[in-house]
């Protein structure tokens, strides 16, 4: 925490054009708005370069006592161009809105859909907060950059070109003299934009560091207090807040140097115009006062497009990391998805839907499940499951027991196709599950996990999560099955009580009961329970046993076991260790066999040695 090591090398990288071309692709549906931005930019630049010129001509016309019609014509065009300018401003902001919000919307949607398809191992490696900011701040950053990039590119370049050419045509010598400021401006601007980009990145990084320290200070308050760490924590915080102040000052100092230098360069341009132009006027060498005034205004105005162009360029660099992250997510192929063959069958099946068939046209029922020589590993040299065989008969309840890390949860995850076997296959009614629709499989399973996640919203909505159309009677019946009805009715608003973010307003045990009710209401073909009631009160758990048994008896159930009563009533108990079945049989048979199961059983009852 204390050592600040922000990585800033990436700042110096250049703009990745391929990446931005792919990102710009998201703007294709909004090409009309994009063209509007470019068009407005060009028109605005033309208007802005004409206005000083008209002022100059007006002055000359008045001094030269030109006839009124010419003066009127000039004045009217000045006013007309000004009004046109304002209309264009309205026009490009509206177009920018369409482009930016539309692109952000589309990128977000594509990312969200992709997240729904990606395998769990992706989520295992990415903290939730990072994924969320991909869809929020990253999308916003990239999309809101686009319209201004188009506008400022077209405006800035047009302005520079039109004014330079115009000046050279009107008076090439004076024009050249005034144009001397441009390379200077470009040089200074680009040097400073780079420095500013760097220091503002340092600021942002330190700022997120600061947020993290606050977060630790708040979430860890009990721990910090019980370790009497307050003083050390405060010291450490101050080193971060000092760094934050230093970087902010660095940024402020750079800005404070940069802007005055730009102003001074503008002043230099005005001075040069006055000097060279003055001599020309003194010599009566074909330069009017009006033109001199126009040239002096241009000298000041030149700074603007240069600065805007540089600023957009650093925006582009600043948003590049966000763009990379978004494209990385969008371009990631899900490891687990329907094969092309399955997809074509789903297409065919939706056309001629047979009753009793699944979405992919196959058998809707799951009556038998078979693991054939299944192996699974994260790293090949450390297999989690090896040559695993298991055949589950219709309506059988299988209990998995065994030590931590033995592979029980992995077996359940493979069955749910959260992960796929690295070798071997899993067969539903004799068909390998990778030849079936993923959606069909998962919607046929009722999975209850040890860590019960609830969604914010009412208790009723959570129980009816998989069956949004369920009646309140059905919801209550499910809740009664798991003895959750009583505590739910005691909540302030009963079934309508908000469970809070992630179910935070309920205890873990209560959450587990609701998660269980949710699975029961879904009435799946196969029930999979992974430590589903580990945090439920001993007495409550005792009471719900019969209800759960009734639910399990009608279908295939795989239960990572937990209470002996569940284990005992299971049709078959598998003792899993080292990714293998080391023993299997009924409760009675295993006890009599005197193997691992008996040892497990004994250890529990043996009491203190």
């Amino acid at each position: 925490m204390t050592q600040l090591s922000p990585h800033v090398e990436d700042v110096l990288g250049s703009v990745d054009r391929g990446l931005w071309r792919r990102i710009a692709g998201h703007g294709y549906p909004y090409k009309k708005s994009a063209l509007s931005m470019i068009g407005s930019g060009i028109l605005l630049a033309v208007i802005e370069s004409l206005l000083p010129l008209i002022t100059g001509y007006l002055i000359d016309a008045i001094i030269g006592k030109a006839d009124t019609s010419q003066i009127t014509w000039l004045a009217v065009s000045y006013v007309g161009l000004s009004i046109g300018f304002c209309i264009l401003v309205w026009w490009f902001i509206v177009a920018a809105g369409r482009l930016a919000t539309g692109m952000a919307h589309d990128i977000r949607r594509a990312s969200f859909v992709r997240l729904q398809e990606l395998e769990f191992s992706y989520f295992d490696t990415q903290p939730a907060g990072w994924l969320v900011s991909r869809l929020t701040s990253d999308c916003r950053k990239v999309a809101s950059l686009m319209p201004w990039l188009l506008l400022d590119l077209s405006w800035g370049i047009t302005f520079l070109v039109v004014v330079s050419v115009g000046m050279l045509i009107i008076n090439w010598l004076l024009g050249l003299c005034v144009l001397v400021v441009v390379p200077l401006l470009v040089l200074v601007t680009f040097i400073f934009e780079r420095k500013l980009l760097r220091s503002s990145r340092l600021m942002r990084k330190t700022n997120s560091e600061l947020t993290a320290v606050y977060n630790e200070g708040i979430s860890g308050v009990r721990t910090s207090k019980s370790l009497t760490r307050e003083v050390e924590n405060i010291d450490e915080f101050q080193s971060v807040s000092q760094a934050m102040r230093d970087y902010t000052m660095l940024n402020a100092v750079q800005t404070s140097i940069f802007l005055p230098i730009v102003t001074s360069i503008g002043g230099m341009g005005v001075g040069i115009a006055l000097w060279v132009g003055g001599i020309k006027i003194e010599q009566d060498a074909g330069l009017s006062i009006g033109m001199l005034i126009a040239f002096m205004q241009y000298a000041v105005l030149f700074a603007m497009p240069v600065r805007e162009l540089a600023a957009r360029l650093s925006d582009l660099k600043g948003a590049q990391a966000a763009g990379e992250r978004i494209q990385g997510l969008l371009e990631r192929e899900p490891e687990i998805q329907d094969s092309d063959e399955v997809r074509s069958r789903i297409d065919a099946a939706t056309k001629g839907k047979r009753s009793g068939a699944a979405v992919d046209g196959g058998d809707h029922r799951i009556e038998t499940i078979e693991f054939r020589d299944v192996s699974f590993w994260y790293k090949p040299e450390e297999p989690v499951i090896q040559h695993f065989d298991l055949s589950i008969r219709p309506a059988e309840t299988i209990a998995l027991v065994g030590p931590t890390g033995g592979g029980k949860t992995t077996i359940a995850s493979l069955l749910c196709r959260f992960y796929e076997p690295c070798a071997g296959g899993i067969f539903m009614n004799g068909v390998e599950y990778r030849k079936r629709s993923l959606h069909w499989l998962q919607s046929s399973l009722g999975i209850v996990l040890q860590q019960p996640h609830l969604f914010s919203g009412s208790v009723a909505r959570n129980i009816a999560y998989a069956q949004p159309s369920a009646t309140i009677e059905q919801i209550e019946t499910a809740a009664r099955t798991v003895e959750a009805h009583d505590f739910i009715t005691q909540l302030p608003d009963g079934y309508d009580s908000d469970v809070g973010e992630g179910g935070g307003r309920l205890s873990v045990g209560q959450r587990q009961l609701i998660a269980l009710a949710r699975a029961i209401l879904a009435d799946p073909q196969v029930f999979i329970m992974d430590e589903a009631t580990s945090s439920v009160d001993t007495e409550t758990e005792h009471h719900i046993q019969r209800g759960i048994e009734a639910v399990l008896s009608r279908r295939i159930a795989v239960v990572i076991a937990h209470r002996l009563s569940t284990v005992r009533s299971a049709d078959r108990i598998l003792v899993i260790d080292g990714g293998e079945i080391i023993e299997q049989g009924s409760h009675q048979a295993l006890l009599e066999a005197g193997g691992a199961y008996q040892a497990l059983y004994r250890r529990h009852f043996a009491g203190p040695e």
Binding site: I62, I63, I71, C86, W90, V94, A96, G97, A100, T101, R108, R109, F112, Q116, F120, P127, A128, L131, T136, L210, Y214, I218, S219, V221, R222, S226, L227, T228, F237, S241, R245, A252, V253, S256, T263, S264, G267, M268, V270, L274, I281, E282, V401, G402, T404, T410, C416, H439, Q442, S443, L445, G446, L449, Q450, H453, S456, A515, E531, A561, G607
Partner: protein
Amino acid sequence: MKTQAASITRVMMREPRIYGAAIGAMVISSLLLYLAPLVPLVVIDGVLRPSEQGPTTFELFLLSLMGGVDFISANLWWACVVILLLTAFAGLFAYFRGVLAANATERIVQKMRDDLYQRLQRAPVGFIDRSETGDLIQRCTSDVDTVRIFLSAQVVEIARAVAMLIVPLPIMLMISPIMTLASVLLLPPIVLFAVFYFKRIRSAFIDVEEAEAALTSTVQENVTGIRVVRAFAQQDQETEGFDVRNGTHRDLDNYLYRVLAWFWSTSDLMCMSQKIIAVGTGMVLLSMGRLEVGALFFFITAVSMFVWPIRQMGRILAELGKAQVALGRINYVLGQPEETDGESGATLDGSVLSGAISFQNVTFAHEESAPVLHEVSFDIAGGSTIALVGPSGCGKSTIINLLMRFYEPDEGQILLDGMALNDIDRLSLRSNLSIVLQEPFLYSRSLRDNLAMGRSNAEEVEIVEAANVAAIHDAIVGFDEGYSTVVGERGVTLSGGQRQRLAIARALLRDPAVLVLDDALSAVDTKTERAILAALQQRHHRHTTIIVAHRLTTVMQADEVLVLDQGRIIDRGTHAELLEREGLYQRLWKIQNEGMDAMTGLSGEVAP
């Protein structure tokens, strides 16, 4: 508005001298900036195109400053140098202004951040428990940032706009009062328009913010609950729900752009009209011979210099309220009492402390709600092990909270070694007690740092020893970087059981007089639990141990077990004694053993 400005001003007045210097630098800088266009004015009107009436006194004065008409006429480069010098010096003072203002602001803001953090560290646990983490963090980060931007950018912008307008006024009046009037005619409507427009469309901004928050929480819920989404194959429904919020956000955001399009175009029109009025009036005066060309140039330049800052000022004035609200939210945190307020207690000497604890008729309730502890009394002899059991919500954790002085009892008192807790210095008390929570908090740094967190001078040997007692040493060595492995968001993820064991090691390392395990073995498997309890047993009499647990096998070896229900001690005794009596303990034991609860532990540490 007045009170708003007042309390923001109070914040600024913490650095009056620096802000004063910044304002001074700003005035000088704007003055110099306006002097620059005076040079073309006198050069054009005095040298290049002398008027028939001859130069005015003001022009003569300026001309003489620059060396007189003839000198300038012969050396036009000199005008160029003067302009350059003026803008360069204006720039120098603008630099001073920027750095000074940033300096003052950053001092104030750093102090604010430090104060906030300090307050959060020292605030009673109850305050943090009552608050939402996200809300507190927002107060400390984005609210502070709002105030910072206000102080460093917005106040400066307002001041600059005012200076840019006021500084040239005397010069402008000296040149031409009519032109001056024509140049500022539309400024009041420009400011008022900005203020009122932004006040009116505030709700549009808020709508977008709320829509974005809703969108964020939808994504957040989906990502954190992705396993449930998949388990029930609800991807399509989730996407539908997301689409609604995503669409709403896009529409509101797009609406905001449209609203802003009207603002910017209209106010641009007003600003341009201001310029047209100035230029038009100037042209008329020029044709009537009542204004010189150079003077016209000066006015055109001046209007462009102040009209845009003035427009910005209107927008900022409308947003003044934001900074005020943020400041209020910050002050709410800073206004919380500190735990150590008005306290100076005895300091404990850990080496002679026996660790005897006595609760005497202790009653406690959270605010208005029903008491969670009713007149609880018990004594623990120094060096003994006692256990607290009972259903959820029976008051076990409250006893621990009171012992740690996270909360204060409403009635009764608690003694440590015969001394009332209230008479002991809070820090000294806590450094002699060690607590391990069910869901231990780990800091996102290395395992070694986490272990040594409560005793920064611990030696490597001691760390390893503590880790061995807590049966976590082998797991640590198994990581690629051993004790240097970083945990947390940026490092490895530990299982619940590993976290608990790590926290136990951390607590042991402090060698406290009292060790509290608040359901701290719930995720540790029974075999490991047994090993840890046995190792603790060996250290027996080195400290008093309080074990809170659901699993009765965990508490069997305690010297005494207190059975709690609904805030009262309903039974007490050794495991054997309690087992013989009919009651909650016996009932729980029966259920747990019939149900073979121990297998929970066997599979407690679930790999993802």
